[in-house]
Symmetry: C2
Subunit: 763 residues, 2 copies
Amino acid sequence: MEQYSVFGKPLPRIDAWEKVTGEARYLDDIFMPGMLYGKVLRSPHAHARIVRIDTQKAEALRGVRAVITHRDTPGVKFSFFPVFADKLPLCRDKVRYIGDEVAAVAAETAAIAEQALSLIEVEYDLLPAVTDLEEAMKPGAPLVHEDKEKNIAFEGHKSFGDIKKGFADSDYIFEDRYVTSKVAHCCMETHGCIASFDRLGKLTVMMPSQAPHTVRQEIARILDIPRSKVRIVVPAVGGGFGQRLVTDMKVPAAAILSRIARRPVKIVNTREDEFCTARTRYPYIVELKTGVRKDGRILARQARVLIDNGAYNDKGPATLNYAGECFAVLYNVPHVRYDGYGVYTNKQFGTAFRGFGNVQVTFATESQLDEIAEKLGMGPEEIRLKNANKPNELMSCGATVTSCGLVECIRETMKKSGWDEKRKMKTDLGNGWYRGIGMATMVHTGAGGRFYGYAATDTFTKISEDGCITVISPAPEIGQGGKMVVAQITAEVLGVDPSRITVINNDTDIIPYDLGAWGSRTSFVCGNAAKAAAESVKEEIFGAAAKMLQTTPGKLCARDEKIFIDEDPSKAVSFEEAAVYAVSNLGYPLSGKGRYTDPLAPQVGIDKKYGHHLPTFTFACHVVEVEVDSGTGEVKVVKVTAAQDTGRTINRHMAEGQIEGSILQGLGYAISEECVEDGGRMMNPTFADYKIQTAVDAPPYDVILIETDDPDGPFGAKGIGEPALVPLPAAVGNAVYHATGVRFKKLPLNQERVYFSLKKEKG
Amino acid sequence: MEQYSVFGKPLPRIDAWEKVTGEARYLDDIFMPGMLYGKVLRSPHAHARIVRIDTQKAEALRGVRAVITHRDTPGVKFSFFPVFADKLPLCRDKVRYIGDEVAAVAAETAAIAEQALSLIEVEYDLLPAVTDLEEAMKPGAPLVHEDKEKNIAFEGHKSFGDIKKGFADSDYIFEDRYVTSKVAHCCMETHGCIASFDRLGKLTVMMPSQAPHTVRQEIARILDIPRSKVRIVVPAVGGGFGQRLVTDMKVPAAAILSRIARRPVKIVNTREDEFCTARTRYPYIVELKTGVRKDGRILARQARVLIDNGAYNDKGPATLNYAGECFAVLYNVPHVRYDGYGVYTNKQFGTAFRGFGNVQVTFATESQLDEIAEKLGMGPEEIRLKNANKPNELMSCGATVTSCGLVECIRETMKKSGWDEKRKMKTDLGNGWYRGIGMATMVHTGAGGRFYGYAATDTFTKISEDGCITVISPAPEIGQGGKMVVAQITAEVLGVDPSRITVINNDTDIIPYDLGAWGSRTSFVCGNAAKAAAESVKEEIFGAAAKMLQTTPGKLCARDEKIFIDEDPSKAVSFEEAAVYAVSNLGYPLSGKGRYTDPLAPQVGIDKKYGHHLPTFTFACHVVEVEVDSGTGEVKVVKVTAAQDTGRTINRHMAEGQIEGSILQGLGYAISEECVEDGGRMMNPTFADYKIQTAVDAPPYDVILIETDDPDGPFGAKGIGEPALVPLPAAVGNAVYHATGVRFKKLPLNQERVYFSLKKEKG
């Protein structure tokens, strides 16, 4: 008999039916009696002083119920990290990017609200805008925030070992500069909210969110009200990818409009709003210097990283730091130095995005590694295997890698992709077409972080009198399967079918405190808490079953909807019978509480050795095969072989889905997507002009799950939401290099760039 | 310093603001997008065969979305107790009372639905109806249910000691017959629901309920779907009084309409619907025989109790049994016999109502006791004190009384009312006015019952990262203060202000399994569970505070929003600081689970000695002063002195409110309220004709809380929701007798009855 009967199985998700039938209600499907429609007036200028705002005409328009400007806000500056607060919910003196929030309107219809916006008169005094990252760093550049001396928004520095010695001991030193692009999350559902203040001053916000408690904190801070006066309720969510970790400024605007109008106010982004204002992946410039020995061992790595922060801080400081952590862990480099700078520009700003800074830096490190290998006469796979992380290894940065399947990931992708043969094949296909194969690896957190001591959460589980189970878990469901992870783990512990389980996970007034779905932490943190809660209620139902079977709970097993004596499975009661017996005959309800805490978290402060900040690591290796048309610049991805260390797989379907989704999103990042900007204005804010990779573009995938059995994960599982995106751009770049001999150090490898580069390099 | 800082204090309710501002949303305030309006077609006949139902014209009416008859139901017969199932959700062959559900309609507006009802053609074949309880018992009476041999719906018999010996040993035997009336609950809010089936077959019902899990079970049974497919969500509730323990047949009708129309369906009773069909208090006939010794000791009590059950079973069997339990406990009578019969009639049926059968029987026993005392030459107080229950006494029926303040209740009401003097005063005031004073006592459960092993519940409590507290408790809030009870107990344990607490209590998908607000069990059962949950989370926050104060948790106290070292209160942290520290510095969320189980409940079966069925008892004595106008028959209640054994009072304001409300409702029952019926038709279904006692009718109250510190209650508390109604009718009758010398054995003592009785007796 297999060890597990539910865990690991490719079962259909418990929330699948509501998705495929259309029963799931997304924010835009929700209407409340008396609901008003809100719209936000945004700055048309990248940088300007606000001389005057006159809202009288807008207020006088029939059907308008509230018009607000900065005068209606508490004027509290805000950022995701309070220490970096720099944004007002509505601009007071200045606008800092095209799209900055200036005023907002609530009206009986969306059309009236739109018309009212056009009646608001704003007089601007234009200021010189700075829209280039490196220009912004120059002395004398226009200041985005005048209360700061320069446009450096934040810095982050890390240093381990002795970087000078590292380079001195190296046989070769490589220095390269990599540039990544600004891309959008492109969630199927745009941002939106329905904010509703009640007469007692309690604000309920319905919004798609992947971190409702965090959002609660932020909204409370922006509105200057207690957190307990804010309730976040999350309807079905059409994708997150990091974009829904933070509070869009529409939310406080809707809240204030609701407070004034005494009605619920809905604001939903159009797709154009979304592209232009809903935040992006941060563009990076990575100046990378690496020292290696002749035998391929990496001795020293140094990076100077510049982040185009846009007009305001958001998750920038964290992406900068996090990228630095992974930078030091991959290949356990003994001597590391990492210097990062976030730079203000008069542009739309960035936020968290699947891969979280690590993607950008990994594009640099894994692209350069191929160049190093070539110089040393090694294969790309050879240098990676040489340096690969091993299980249970202490890193130079202080982190301990526990489970680790990097070597297996590399070996399996090689095997499944036919790496050895394909690397040797002729790359010139004739007719201007070239074929190539490339690989890249990565390390990423498999369980969020230990920052703020928040590597913890609670879960409540109850079994009803008919044996149906409710899990009150903070695991967000953003399409990634958070509910099913909780259900499947609970079902494994209790030996039942997951369809027996309802997961309540969408209301801050109810769910236990938790930081939400980021850092691929849900499966690990919420999964562990759900497992503990299930184990606690299992003790209770085993107590009842033991009475029914005249045995002791210790002798019982639960599996396939039955509770039975392990030594004699014919002595069994059904799960349902045991539940009914407990409630009706023994007179007690069935419920449990479970908790996950990271035993090391309390000892970790922001000042300590940073490696401790990640409870566990996950690894991956991707092999990408491409065909490149030098005539058109087209990069055609013909196959992706992706191996990922999943700890143990919770649900094969969902794991493969996450990996395939990451690959497709990563391919878009690598070869087609880009927010094209001109003077701070996005020029392609539609899916006609912004080219995502769709289902029809998807190449054949070969997804390999490397099960390493994490010692701390629930049943050995680790997070897998983000990692598979991380190595993709470098793997594509390496494959294109293999095909064409042309190295791309700037993303994306879109047709235009590839065409002109090949033309230049190859004539 | 007082023992408690929050418990017992007359603090404002945490839900007071939402009530007084109108923020609280009752069912009728709730509108859902696409919601339809439902109406029920009811039988105009007390008893008839259904020959034909034609719904075609109704279906053809523009705006009608669904019309249903019995053909659209699963045809499962139903009763609150499945063993007594006798009612179809929509009648098939016969209608059995004026108001019986025949068909239902859902339409775009209520007016269209109403019009559609008039288009449904029902052909009836009239049957002889039986509308008198005693007529119904006669051989040859028309059968209400033809599948039964007679109109006896159920029986209940109890026997303790040796009733023959009891009477043989008695010096005097008294035999009397008492008749109580049919009265309505008269909740401020009428019954209603919004039922909504989703595409996955899950039914959500929004409805005012005092027992959402019970209702879930019933609806699942009627619709023949799993319980897990039913979710009950309870909005603000405008009064319960027992009427909202069970499922009104509107709910399955609305559910089926919703399933067909694929839209939410709202059905709300008009006041006339409510009076005619929403169930009432059961009218009783009590034939009472009591044997006493010369010295006043009651030796034997025998009752034959007939309940006018109406057309269908509901809570009848339970009210019959429960009344028998109290009958044997009050005064610990050694020899008891109790024979009860529920009798079908072609009339609106009854259900649970504050006092639950005990009121009717207590009217008999406490009226007769005054007659016995008079015969023996004793004062009413003297015979009661002689026989009064004492604490920690084993009853002849097998029950153990733990806390008991009956003697104190009698003595305190005597003192506060000036009993001794007033009993001696001249009763004839001249001008046809008479003055009198009377008393009555009672025993009632203080904690629900142990039936079905359900004297148990769970509670989850979490403290958020800012120190605000959520209690997930099944304690229903029906206006009685269920939320505040939970909040105040939690606040006492954690040493915080109750305003810090949110209680989540209204959704069966979320709250732990629980039987709801009946039998005055909420404070005791849910209160104990809330206390346990609070104690569990207190351990956690004390862990954090101990670290902050560099001490051990055992040395800490919580009070006044502070956690401090007991021996040196200057060493303190605020509750909020400790919460923030736990989450942010120690890295763990704060939560607890609490459970109350009754250790004796599992040993109690329906066959065991019945006294064990009540976990604790509460006692009361009321003294009523009246002035009676023989010229008009008016009974003017000039003062009520009410002493109630509350265990320990949780909140004096709320306790007094419950007692005052009970008194006013009991006064209505005693002197003015009555559902006047003619041939099974209610003749006074409006507040113009059905005379409740309103605020302007309220006499001066003197409410005395006798705090007996129950050994098993939370902080010593017992339930107080129902008991104060129980002795009222007898106390009024005894006062009127004292005033006029005329004994009333039939309720109500309304003007007509009093006028004619006085005229007959006194000329």
